[in-house]
């Protein structure tokens, strides 16, 4: 060794030093940190407080006079108008009304709908079922279909399968929801030319059929097909696109090569190594979508007269039924905030890199 000229790199002396430094600089045990949960919870509470302020301001500082709106189209005396104002609490100063509103909201009282003469909370609960049925079904199908297609196309990017999948997804994504819904309605409910429509045009069930038992479930399923299909076609493309690009990003990673070099088969490399890492961006999107699930799809519910929360919001907007709008606004916002909180927490389980931040 000593006969060799000075080609060699600096080697032994520094080697020992770095090694010692690398060891002592690391903590041996990782403890769970409750601080993370607390900070995320605090952030969610702040978001909700801001939502309350915005919700209140939006619907109370609007120029439209609620009492005039309510009594629209019928003769009323000044005394009656005054009585209504007192009844609605509109005679109180703004700050007092805001405190009342916050207090009511925190106690689960979301106001009283003018139009339906019913509490907003109970109205919302009534409409929650149909919305969750429609949105849940289409959401589950979109996620599974989208992620599967995205995974397959990203793994063989540029293949015929990829080109067909990507082109179809992008086309459907670009199409306006109302237009697609209408086309499906015309083709499958009304019928085109010799083709007879066989699916119901509107609603969630046929009132002439019994409202219980197997017949009812099948009837609801039949009504569900078109609105759910419309939602899926519009939403699944987002999952295809995001999954495809995450997979393409992962596919060049040397750790996949390592796994393959150790003898793992291609399909297993994809499933066990590429997929879990590529799934992270999709998880963010899944939680974002989950948050917006209950607000429903106003457009789709309106087209198919689906008796859900989106339809309710649409009806409230037309009047406008301010307490109802305010109530649904709060519910929808709260749902998004909660889902975001869950997403933050889920990330810590899914990605070790986030755990230490």
């Amino acid at each position: 060794m000593s006969s060799r000229p000075a080609l060699a790199e600096p080697q032994t002396a520094e080697a020992a030093g770095t090694q010692a430094k690398a060891r002592t600089g690391r903590r041996p045990l990782r403890l769970p940190r409750p601080g993370y949960l607390v900070s995320k919870l605090a952030a969610a509470v702040v978001s909700f407080a801001v939502t309350l302020v915005i919700g209140f301001s939006l619907f109370n500082l609007m120029p439209a006079d609620p009492v005039r709106t309510m009594t629209r189209g019928r003769p009323v005396s000044e005394a009656e108008l005054l009585r209504l104002r007192v009844q609605l609490g509109l005679d109180k100063p703004v700050w007092e009304r805001f405190l009342d509103f916050v207090n009511d909201t925190l106690h689960g009282n979301l106001g009283y709908s003018w139009e339906y003469q019913q509490s907003v909370a109970s109205l919302t609960m009534d409409r929650l079922g149909p919305t969750l049925l429609l949105m849940g079904t289409s959401f589950a199908i979109s996620v599974v279909l989208g992620l599967w297609l995205g995974l397959r196309s990203g793994w063989r990017a540029g293949s015929l399968f990829d080109r067909i999948t990507s082109a179809t997804a992008l086309t459907l994504w670009s199409v306006p929801t109302f237009w697609l819904g209408m086309i499906l309605l015309i083709v499958f409910s009304v019928g085109v030319g010799p083709f007879h429509g066989f699916l119901p045009t509107a609603g969630m069930s046929d009132p002439t059929l019994p409202q219980t038992g197997m017949t009812h479930y099948l009837d609801v399923a039949k009504h569900l097909i078109l609105p759910a299909l419309t939602m899926v076609l519009v939403v699944y493309a987002q999952y295809v696109t995001i999954m495809r690009s995450s997979i393409i990003e992962e596919i060049g990673s040397p750790y996949l090569l390592t796994a393959r070099a150790k003898g793992l088969m291609d399909a297993a490399v994809r499933r066990k190594h590429a997929l879990p890492n590529a799934l992270l961006p999709s998880v963010t999107m899944i939680f974002m979508h989950l948050g917006t699930l209950i607000s429903g799809a106003v457009t789709v519910e309106a087209i198919f007269s689906w008796p859900g929360l989106g339809d309710l919001t649409f009806a409230a907007l037309k009047i406008p039924d301010l307490p109802l709008l305010q109530g649904t606004f709060i519910v929808f916002s709260a749902s998004v905030i909660i889902m975001n909180l869950l997403a933050d927490l889920a990330y810590r389980f899914l990605d070790p890199r986030v755990r230490d931040q």
């Binding site: 790199e9 032994t12 770095t18 393959r260 070099a261 003898g263």
Partner: protein, 334 residues
């Protein structure tokens, strides 16, 4: 250190070629174009070349990740069988270590799972914790238990590379193919990893092919050196032969850029087109950039045939250089 094991080589390639199909308006790329190379038992061979010369492709072909378009890879004198089962079996014995240790580890796997990946794949799960512990200890991560639950992002570059090496050792391989194993590490950590590889050779009798563009690395750890240029090995021999008495003009040029400290030190800088495997020059592939060819007179050029005559492929463990200007016998027989 330099007595070469002359028994059955651990890993050998015979007349290997890998051609990538034409794409994007370019012709097919002859990344590896006729290579003989052998790695003896317990021998460390350095494969040196600049980027794009085909050395990484050759490394991937050696571990069976790239199927050669011609020639053979032989493991202990048995040609490699590319059926799924045989290949998986082969991968127990030959392990790949990649350049970027951060990328070579799955970010979602902790150290234990990363090291246990190989043994689990091959069903070697009896006493798995002990296998993992031993592999980590052999790779110089002590105490091994401290590293079990760590994730790659919590480790330094040197520690990551040790985990990668431990992952290779966990399968108790006989050959390690390392593709630029220290290129992305700090100079000081680099020394540690090289020392580790030497120790593994001495303690476990591992053979290794180390791919690098770094002559210093070859000097530090290799028994033999093969210099690759544009898909061919242009010179090979023991470290002393190749690095102290380089024969091929290309090797000489590579070595000349290392400052010698001498008064008259003058680097030979390579000029001309960088090598392109889609357009390999006729005759000697190096002649367009060869200083000796450039300096030759018209008569000498005509006599040498550097621009017309193909050079023979070097024998697997010969000490030789493939150059027309060096071998008068080759000139005569032409």
């Amino acid at each position: 250190m330099t007595d070469i094991d002359t028994r059955t080589p651990a890993l050998e390639v015979r007349d290997l070629s890998v051609v990538y199909p034409a794409s994007g308006g370019r012709g097919p790329a002859r990344a590896v174009d006729g290579v003989n190379l052998s790695v003896g038992q317990g021998e460390i061979v350095a494969l040196i070349g600049e980027s794009g010369c085909g050395k990484s492709t050759l490394a991937r072909a050696l571990v069976g990740l790239v199927k050669p378009t011609g020639g053979q890879v032989l493991y202990q004198d048995t040609p490699l069988d590319y059926s799924a089962i045989a290949l998986k079996q082969y991968r127990r014995h030959t392990q790949l270590v990649l350049q970027d240790p951060g990328g070579a580890l799955n970010p979602k796997q902790n150290v234990y799972d990363a090291v246990a990946l190989g043994p689990r794949l091959h069903g070697l799960t009896d006493r798995l914790p002990e296998t993992v512990r031993n592999a980590l200890a052999q790779a110089g991560l002590r105490p091994p238990e401290d590293f079990f639950g760590r994730y790659p992002h919590e480790l330094s570059g040197g520690q990551q590379q040790r985990v990668v090496i431990a992952g290779a050792l966990a399968l108790n391989p006989s050959v390690i193919v390392a593709d630029e194993p220290v290129a992305s590490l700090d100079a000081s950590v680099r020394g540690e990893i090289l020392k580790l590889m030497l120790r593994l050779r001495d303690d476990l009798g591992l053979s290794a092919l180390v791919v690098s563009h770094d002559l210093g690395l070859a000097w530090n750890i290799a028994d033999r050196v093969a210099v690759m240029y544009l898909g061919r090995i242009v010179e090979q021999g023991t470290v002393e032969e190749v690095l102290l008495r380089p024969q091929h003009p290309y090797t000489q040029a590579l070595l000349s850029v290392i400052p010698s400290g001498a008064e008259d030190w003058r680097p030979t800088l390579l000029t001309g087109e960088p090598p392109d495997p889609t357009a390999i020059p006729a005759g000697c592939r190096f002649h367009p950039r060869c200083g000796r060819w450039a300096a030759a007179s018209a008569d000498e050029r005509a006599a040498s045939g550097c621009d017309r005559r193909e050079l023979p492929v070097l024998a697997p463990d010969a000490s030789a250089a493939a150059c027309h200007l060096l071998s008068p016998t080759a000139l005569e027989t032409a």
